[in-house]
Point group: C2
Chain length 92, copies 2
């Protein structure tokens, strides 16, 4: 039996790392009159589907995928939510 999960992955800069893009956005917003906006931090939001035998395997795969491909562990953190979308039985 294989289950398909929707993964919602958040990759964010570690709090100690400078975010020049965030600073640029905040500066732009101030020039547009939004001087009530602060602490702008820009990260990535990734959605994908992953098909595995169970949720534990899906989480293991996703942690490796995040470490190796989607984030730079030196400067970024990640977290993800898993949502079951489909269960299939039979031969694959």
């Amino acid at each position: 039996m294989q289950t398909k999960y929707l993964a919602k992955i958040f990759v964010t800069l570690r709090p100690s790392v400078l975010d020049p893009a965030g600073v640029a956005v905040q500066s732009g917003l101030q020039q547009m009159g939004y001087d009530n906006v602060e602490n702008v931090r820009i990260g990535k939001y990734i959605e994908l589907t992953i098909t595995t035998s169970d949720e534990t395997k899906a989480r293991q795969d996703l942690e490796r995928i995040c470490d190796q491909m989607l984030s730079n562990p030196v400067i970024e953190n990640y977290r993800f939510d898993l949502i079951e979308v489909e269960t299939q039985t039979g031969v694959f």
Copy 2:
């Protein structure tokens, strides 16, 4: 009285728009052996704090900020969550 809100903003490509970065990531993952991953879509995740008189004003400001600065409404959708983090009284 002024309230500070933490906004968590998700900017995603509209479903009808091709995502070349997502295709590249999926192709890379397949070469790494993850052929159980599909439908990779890459978006932006932005956190910021906004200080306003009330939540309605915060939502109005954020919608303008998303439309004018954080997203390209032609090809992207956005949504955001607001979390109240601090209420301040007195003169500003």
